[in-house]
């Protein structure tokens, strides 16, 4: 068991999510940054998709009721065990009564804490991922609060794995997302098409697991259009009626009524989970054949380390 002493800004339990349910209005959810999540599980000796803790922006304090192996990966949050620093992207042992604290995030948004053997929570549609709007998954569908008890498996301590050189992702306050045109790209006017790929945007305070409202140059269409509600995906950049972009994340709505200007390439979607309020966001033009090559290379690189993991 693990006791939550302080839930932090927004901490949820996440696994790989529940894909394939968007036709019912259920987004896939799951770890917003699947790469850091998979690395945390790998270091703790778990399958890459075991249920883990996702802490956004920091502030989480937890107390271990038994000895265990723990791994931490993602945004740097100056983690400490009983006041002693522990390295980010590392696995370490904890004893009964040890307290792990996360301070506040810099260079990213979310940190993942994996426990050897994984955490246990009831499943909904084959996943324990928390989806807050419908109170599904996790601990009664809620974010963690002081007093919550997390159930970890009774598996004895596992070997701690060290990430080999070159596999630790570099996170920064400037997220660059390679993107392809979305279905309504063509209706944007020429200056707006240019702005999207050359000007920087920044994530506003309206940033959570569902998506992020961005600020930057106004994006406009050739002629005003009114769209019928239509399907949406994580990684889609929508443009609202005021010309402001909204970038959709793992918990984003399954349908929407705004033009879909861009779609982030599959290999870069993990970065969406590291966009915090204030993060600079840039989009770079990508092409189908490049996106395919990038994914193939990334999958074989990380797939060689983490069994079964793909972007």
């Amino acid at each position: 068991m693990i006791e939550v002493l302080n839930g932090g800004t927004q901490t949820t339990l996440q696994d790989a999510g529940r894909p394939g349910m968007r036709h019912l209005g259920i987004p896939s959810s799951g770890a917003a940054d699947q790469l850091s999540f998979a690395l945390a599980n790998w270091m703790a000796g778990n399958r890459w998709d075991a249920l883990a803790i996702e802490c956004a922006l920091g502030g989480l304090h937890i107390k271990f009721q038994s000895s265990n192996t723990v791994a931490i990966a993602g945004a740097e949050m100056w983690a400490q065990v009983n006041g002693q620093n522990v390295n980010n992207f590392s696995a370490f042992s904890v004893e009964k009564g040890d307290i792990l604290t996360l301070s506040f995030a810099r260079d990213g948004c979310r940190s993942y804490i994996a426990i050897a053997g994984g955490l246990k929570a009831p499943e909904f549609m084959n996943s324990s991922s928390t989806y807050l709007p419908a109170k599904i998954g996790g601990l009664n569908g809620c974010a963690l609060r002081a007093g919550d008890q997390l159930i970890s498996s009774n598996r004895p301590r596992s070997a701690q794995r060290k990430i080999p050189q070159g596999f630790t992702p570099k996170l920064s306050r400037h997220v660059v997302l390679r993107s392809l045109p979305g279905p309504e790209w063509k209706i944007l006017d020429k200056p707006s098409q240019r702005h999207l790929f050359v000007s920087p945007f920044h994530a506003t305070n309206l940033t959570d697991r569902m998506g992020s409202r961005l600020k930057g140059d106004k994006i406009t269409t050739e002629v005003p259009i009114s769209m019928t509600s239509s399907p949406l995906l994580p990684g889609t950049l929508q443009i609202d009626t005021n010309g402001e972009p909204i970038l959709m994340f793992a918990d984003g709505h399954c349908t929407g009524g705004y033009p879909r200007a861009l779609q982030v390439i599959q290999s870069d979607k993990w970065l969406l989970g590291q966009i915090a309020p204030g993060t600079q966001v840039s989009f770079r033009r990508c092409f189908q054949e490049h996106s395919k090559k990038i994914l193939k290379a990334r999958n074989s690189f990380y797939g060689g380390l983490i069994e079964g993991f793909t972007f």
């Binding site: 036709h23 209005g25 399907p231």
Partner: protein, 225 residues
């Protein structure tokens, strides 16, 4: 119904999804029926990670590590050809009791004003015919239904209410729909059903799915107690 309207475009949506978009300027039940047939045809193949039907489009997501964009396009084109001859199967009609007006339908007055009808005429018009469930989502359990009779059409609120209770039945332009969860929302609310469109604790969490038909049954307040 012209053939061009029923021959959709296949549009690239990023690197691992295709959007099958029908050309229609307003609501078309023919197009929507065709979308649900196409969804059925496509779902018989394991190629698709997600198949999300919309009013006038269907989103098809695939694993780009297994299937190329070209292959996916071909598979969709084949399915479109095949679907041209598929018969529409009559779907059963699900009855949904609704208490119209009063505290359950705070926007009834607005519809009265714009339509020039009185409350019982509005109730009669809204509940006269069955509606198709055209699509689900933006949130779990939200049902986007087919076109309402012209007099009832009404634009949504300029800025959304911060809380619309689950079960609320609303109008937005030519659409009518049911809220599956308590959520913020901008639709004109004319009634509420005690039925839970989405209940995570039920064996079948969803009451309806896209492609089903719904008929509203005007009911008295007593059904809420």
């Amino acid at each position: 119904m012209s053939d061009t309207e029923l021959t959709p475009d296949i549009i690239e949506y990023g690197d691992s999804a295709l959007l099958v978009q029908f050309k229609t300027n307003s609501f078309s039940l023919d197009v929507n029926n065709r979308i649900h047939q196409l969804s059925k045809t496509l779902s018989s193949k394991p190629d698709w990670q997600e198949l999300v039907p919309g009013y006038d489009s269907i989103l098809c997501c695939f694993d780009m590590a297994r299937i190329s964009m070209e292959r996916a396009k071909k598979n969709i084109a084949t399915a479109i050809k095949k679907t041209a001859s598929v018969e529409i199967t009559e779907s059963k009609i699900i009855e949904v009791p609704v208490v119209y007006g009063g505290i359950y339908g705070p926007d009834m007055a607005a519809i009265k004003k714009s339509s020039g009808l009185n409350q019982s005429q509005i109730i009669e018009t809204h509940s006269a015919q069955p509606y198709s469930v055209c699509m689900m989502g933006f949130i779990p359990g939200f049902c986007f239904l087919s076109e309402i009779p012209s007099p009832l059409k009404h634009p949504r609120h300029k800025s959304p209410r911060s809380l619309v209770p689950a079960g609320s039945v609303g109008i937005a332009g030519w659409q009518t729909g049911i809220y599956g969860l308590d959520s913020p929302g901008g639709w004109q609310i004319i009634g509420r059903t005690p039925h839970k469109m989405f209940d995570k604790n039920r064996e079948k969490p969803f009451l309806v799915k896209a492609g089903d038909k719904i008929k509203f049954i005007p009911s008295s307040k007593a059904i809420f107690s």
